[in-house]
Amino acid sequence: MRFYVFIASVFCCAFADSRKIRGISSSYKRFYRERKSFLCIDGSKLIPFEQVNDDYCDCEDGSDEPGTSACPRGRFYCTNLGFRPHYIPSSRVNDGICDCCDASDEYNSHIRCQKTCWNLGQRERAYVEGQMRTLDEGLRLKQQLIEEGVLLWREKQAQLRELQQKAEDLHLKVEEHKKRKHQADQHKEQTLKTLQAGGAGSRQHNNTASGLFQFLDNNKDGSITVDEVQARVVTIHDEKRLLSENEAVALLGGGRQMDLTMFRHTLWDTLTKGDNVKIRDTNAALDSPVVEDPLLMAADRAAKWEATNLKKVEEAYETVNMEISDLQQKLAIDYGTDWEFLFLNSQCYKLQVYEYTYTLCPFNQVTQENTAGTQVSLGTWGMWAGEPKNQYSQMVYENGEPCWQGGSRTATVTLTCGTETALRSVKEPSKCQYIMDFQTPVACQPVLKQRGIHSEL
């Protein structure tokens, strides 16, 4: 850098001294070679050379007065040795305000300008060096974050795959449980039907002697008792009437109980013939007894169990699916070419400005909270909105809380290069339009390195 400064100073001094054309850069020297006449740079007019910088504007393009304020469209070149040279509008020559740090613009005004180029240059260099350091450090951090981002991205992808696998498994499980539930439901239904058939004289589930015996043997002790007969056998003439004890004893062949073998040969025949007695009609009178029916209850329990199981599995499946869609949504956001912005998702950054605390949760939302704790949404994640060259330099959060005169709050976040990730400033230049400066290493761009003081000295 020092080398450039040296070269520049040699050039400028040499030419400026010999030609005394005020207000031009060395690259324009060739237009101002001392001859009899001067051709306006736009070629529009030929004037005597004495009229260059004579404080009267002859050329439309202002090129005859680079060193005075005479031309409305003119410009003055500040050499600014030790600092950055630059052009100022001619109107700032001798206007009583110091614009060039070498004081060259105020050569004929009341004001005394300090020559500040060396200081400014030093400061600028320190600043630029600082910037460079920041940039270097930022880029290093960015690289890390990119690597982390890639890892994170992979991790998230793996997580997604895992979840998808899980979902697939759960899907199978759901299918299986659906089947099982279906079976259980069917069994329950059948049990119920049998029960009903028994009551209505249907023989669906009572068409074997042992079956009917079991049906009658309510307490499952292997023998039918008077009570049990009374409970389920009625005369065909009067279904509603409970059999008397004697009638029941008669049906049991005179005893108070009867085993299966005996049943086969006696009561079974009587019941299947159905001349005098029959099994009580379930439809008519078996409401409660059926519910209490152990077979049915068992079947019901099994069905419920399967339903619960299915629900659980289904819920698990749904949850996983939601996780998947969440993750997919997250992963669908553009996190930069190397997923370097991915880590910002799920983070939040706060900054207090006057009486408000602002919170930026990147890719999510921006809020403002006052000292009383009232929170207002300034917008939810909208999109990247940087210029095409660097679209990742700006984010927009939209559709925040509505504003008094229509529209809703929006926040525009500008990302700048820094070694830390932090919210740096928040402004509201117009009502409900927030502008935030968000510093983060991932905003550091290698191209920045080519700008700054290097090329211009």
Binding site: S91, R92, I97, K427, P429, S430, K431
Partner: protein
């Protein structure tokens, strides 16, 4: 039929749109019918005047005539005073002969007790008296029964007073004991079959609204009872009347027969409507009447709520009808009748008899003073917004102007800059180091304006409040406590600016050691000084609030005038009387021109609002207030970039040039609309800056003579009826005619170029056009149609810099536009631009004169002394022929040849770098 219904549908939709989103809530403001005294007075029928002059009571002294009038209905006597004032003005004062208590007479508005001229008696009989008004065979005839005044010149009646018999003077009276009695009495007496009878004796009866009046939820207790006054004026031969601002109305006032009268009552009107007679922020009770023979004026010096009715016998007649009258020799002379009604006070009216518009301006200026001479920089561009948020914001906007190479002189801070709307303070966070900020602005040779409103937060920790309260300077409510109303800070008190002690205390608050954070480049803006009271009747103060012995009713329209007066005095005092103040006010009254600038209040970003800025400022100029502007871009709503550009182009040619925007609108600094629009705005602002020497001269002249800066065409072409109603173009001084583009999507404008033997030069192309024609001018977005009058010389500074102060020592370019006689003249005025030293003759005032091919600079003020570094860098002569030689002769007699260029296609001669000092004598001879 289809098209008719379509159109109807369109009209309906439009009406809905208008009544919906953006329109004033008319219900918040009174109509004449809702204002008891207006309703009472307007109900009077013409031709039944109960007033009779008692000629035997006449007394004529050297300076005045006095005479008693009697109301034959109630026998109450009035005292008429008639004065002949110097400068062709007649003053008529009518008060009760013996009022129960004094009636309010407006103080402080007249610059002095107007000097009188002798009146003499010409003849007298039992029917009346004829007095000579001195010059030009002017007479005033006082007729006795009914009382009537006619002012004559030769055989022409110039103006008649009470010719329609609408003089009314509600005398102060004791309140009848009980309301019930009077009600009963009234019922008894009202005879519907014979209303005329009852009208005649109504003076003695109580009517609704005489002792109490309720509007919406507000009750106006009227301890003094009815006190309204009214008088009619007839203007024979007059079809055009102007003035009585402030109304969002065309330049030429309309007749009011079919609606409300024009109302003068300073009000904070939210989102005002255009083209109607509703009252706005300010009131100047001055009307001008004009025809091609004569201009006259009526100045009704009364500060109470006032209504003005206008009727005309030709109104409503079509052009064809008028022609028919003419052809058939119908002899009815056109006549305009005007009637003023005020709620209280006395009749004190100044009849300015012209005869030319210039005479009327001088006459009015002799009464209420001229436009204050503003600091040069305040004529440049002002950048305002509600609000620039903090010091950083101010810095960025300031830098933005430099970055985009747009000049500006003032950046403004609205109410948010204060610490909780406590004026004279700064927000401790956002504006923590105001002096640092002001210094930063000063380093760029720029300035700042901060708002100071007259409502004071009621807060015992606020020094200003405590002082005002402990000194008893607040306006009192009717019960004697400090009046409190609701405004920006919440509960607020209102200092009594009608009190001189209060005003001097207020002025002292602007001292640098009192107003912390202020510096010499900080100036002041008085807003909300109608006064605005959010929870008051019609958003203003209760009429029964007390200013010492007087009711607010009596002084209402004066409040804003006094606020600005005290503030301007403060800015003068803080500099030890050296520096000229700059104070912008929203409310105003007759005489407000002495204290600074006004703007047209809270307008909107709409094309019609842009258009109406022209008649609104023209009307103000006619009544002395030249320093007028409208918020560039429109305050409410957001302008399209086309509207914004057009508004900059218009505003650049209006006296007070300030962009302003509502808090809720998106930012609109000039560079936010793309590079093309930025360039267009830059060019408009630059044109303003090149013309600053001309603007400054106009204000110097306005300050010296009272002539308006921004003028309607008829003022300069009073005999050309084609100019009488023009209000889409205007003149700046006499020499620049501006027809800004105010139509959306305009492809061209038609400008009327006045003057039969005049020529006008397009200032951009130098094309010459003849006068007395309608000229179609094709326009693009960059066009601002402006013409320089042939026969004029306009000095400009073409080196446009960051701010006007940066241009102080810059050289001049003289634009000499020749008339057909090949002559031209103009003036050049130079001083330090900001102090009162011009009063000590520290200035340069030169006449620039071109005749016989010699352009010369002649000293108009040989006794004045000032030196300038500025020189003449270029002379551009429009309509010239090619000379063979051009010689410059300087004061010391030295001669030198000048280089020149001649453009034969446009006949433009440019003299290259003559180089003479602008303050010296010189001659340039073309051969």
């Amino acid at each position: 039929m289809a098209s008719f219904t379509e159109r109807m549908a369109f009209v309906l939709v439009m009406a809905l749109c208008l009544s919906g989103a953006l329109a004033v809530d008319r219900g918040n403001f009174k109509t004449c019918d809702q204002s008891a005294f207006c309703k009472r007075q307007r109900a009077l029928k013409p031709g039944e005047s109960p007033y009779r002059a008692l000629l035997e009571t006449m007394e004529l002294t050297n300076t005045r005539l006095t005479l008693q009038l009697i109301n034959d209905n109630n026998k109450v006597r009035l005292l008429l005073e008639l004065y002949r004032l110097q400068g062709n003005i007649t003053r008529v004062k009518i008060n009760e002969l013996k009022p129960l208590k004094p009636r309010f007479e407006v103080p402080d508005v007249l610059v002095r007790e107007p000097p009188t001229e002798p009146l003499s008696l010409l003849s007298q009989d039992e029917n009346g008296v004829v007095l000579s008004l001195g010059a030009e065979s002017q007479r005033v005839i006082v007729s006795a029964r009914p009382f009537r005044l006619d002012i004559m010149e030769g055989r022409d009646v110039l103006m008649s007073l009470n010719s329609r018999g609408l003089l009314a003077f509600e005398h102060l009276r004791m309140r009848k004991d009980t309301q019930a009695d009077s009600e009963a009495e009234k019922k008894e007496e009202v005879d519907p079959a014979n209303p005329a009878e009852t009208t005649k004796d109504e003076d003695d009866k109580d009517e609704d609204g005489m002792w109490e009046e309720t509007f919406k939820s507000h009750t106006d207790g009227k301890p003094n009872g009815p006190s309204a006054i009214s008088l009619d004026f007839s203007l024979p031969g007059v079809e055009h009347v102007y003035g009585i601002p402030e109304h969002a109305e065309t330049l030429r006032l309309k007749t009011t027969d079919n609606g409300d009268p024009y109302r003068l009552y300073n009000l904070d009107v939210f989102q005002y409507e255009l083209f109607n007679p509703m009252a706005l922020y300010g009131a100047v009770p001055v009307m001008l009447a004009h025809n091609s023979q004569r201009t006259t004026g009526i100045f009704w010096l009364n500060a109470a709520e006032t209504w003005v009715d206008i009727s005309s016998n030709t109104a409503g007649k079509t052009v064809f009808g008028k022609m028919l009258d003419y052809v058939q020799g119908s002899s009815e002379t056109p006549q305009t009748d005007v009637r003023w009604i005020s709620e209280s006070g006395i009749i004190d009216v100044f009849i300015m008899l012209g005869p030319t518009p210039k005479d009327v301006f001088s006459q009015y200026a002799s009464l209420t003073g001229t436009q204050s001479f503003p600091p040069l920089s305040s004529l440049a561009y002002h950048q305002c917004r509600w609000n620039y948020n903090d010091q950083e914001d101010v810095k960025l906007v300031d830098a933005g102007f430099d970055e985009h190479d747009i000049p500006y002189d003032f950046i403004w801070l609205d109410i948010e800059h204060t610490d909780g709307k406590r004026y004279f303070t700064w927000d401790p966070h956002k504006f923590a180091t105001p002096k640092e900020m002001l210094q930063g602005i000063m380093d760029k040779k720029r300035k700042m304006v901060a708002i100071v409103d007259p409502h004071i937060k009621v807060d015992s920790n606020y020094k200003i409040h405590n002082e005002i309260r402990s000194r008893g300077f607040y306006i009192k409510n009717k019960d004697g406590g400090d009046y409190e109303g609701w405004c920006w800070p919440g509960s607020a008190g209102y200092p009594d600016f009608t009190c001189a002690d209060m005003r001097s205390w207020w002025a002292s608050m602007f001292a640098y050691d009192q107003y912390g954070g202020s510096m010499e480049n900080l100036y002041t803006w008085n807003d909300m000084n109608e006064p605005s009271v959010f929870n008051g009747p019609e958003v203003t103060m209760h009429k029964d609030a007390m200013h010492g012995a007087w009711e607010h009713r009596d002084v209402h329209n004066l409040y804003g005038f006094y606020v600005q007066m005290a503030t301007a005095e403060g800015l003068i005092q803080r500099s030890g009387g050296v520096e000229r103040p700059f104070v912008l006010t929203r409310a105003f009254f007759a005489g407000s021109q002495r204290y600074g600038a006004v703007w047209t209040g809270d307008n909107a970003a709409e094309w019609d609002h842009l258009k109406i800025s022209i008649p609104m400022c023209l009307s103000l100029g006619l009544v002395g207030i030249s320093f007028c502007g409208a918020d560039v871009g429109g305050f409410f709503k957001s302008p399209s970039s086309e509207l914004l550009v057009r508004w900059y182009q218009t505003g650049a040619y209006q006296p007070f040039f300030r962009a302003h925007a509502h808090l809720d609108t998106p930012r609109r600094e000039p560079w936010l609309f793309g590079p093309e629009n930025t360039a267009l705005i830059r060019e408009a602002v630059r044109q303003r800056y090149t013309l600053l020497p001309y603007w400054y001269l106009q204000f110097y002249q306005a300050h010296c003579t009272g002539q308006p800066v921004m003028r309607p065409l008829w003022v300069e072409y009073p005999q050309d009826p084609a100019t009488f109603a023009i209000d889409d173009e205007f003149l700046i001084g006499t020499d620049l005619l501006v027809h800004p583009v105010t139509e959306e999507g305009a492809r061209g404008v038609t400008a009327y170029l006045p003057g039969k033997n005049e020529v006008w030069f397009d200032v951009n192309t130098f094309q010459k056009h003849n006068g007395a024609q309608n000229l179609y001018i094709p326009v693009t977005m960059s066009s601002i149609p402006v013409f320089q009058r042939g026969g004029s010389i306009i000095p400009r500074k073409l080196r446009v810099r960051r701010s006007s102060t940066c241009m102080e020592h810059d050289p001049y370019t003289l634009f000499v536009a020749l008339n057909p006689q090949r002559t031209a003249e103009g003036e050049l005025y130079i001083d330090d631009g900001h102090t009162f030293n011009y009063e000590k003759k520290e200035f340069i005032h030169r006449k620039l004169f071109f005749a016989n091919n010699i352009l010369s600079s002649i000293n108009l003020a040989p006794d004045a002394k000032f030196s300038t570094q500025s020189w003449i860098e270029r002379v551009i002569i429009l309509g010239a022929s090619k000379p063979s030689k051009v010689t410059l002769q300087t004061a010391d007699g030295q001669e030198s040849q000048l280089e020149f260029e001649f453009d034969s296609s446009m006949s433009v001669l440019t003299l290259r770098k003559p180089g003479m000092n602008a303050g010296e004598d010189w001659k340039v001879m073309l051969q």
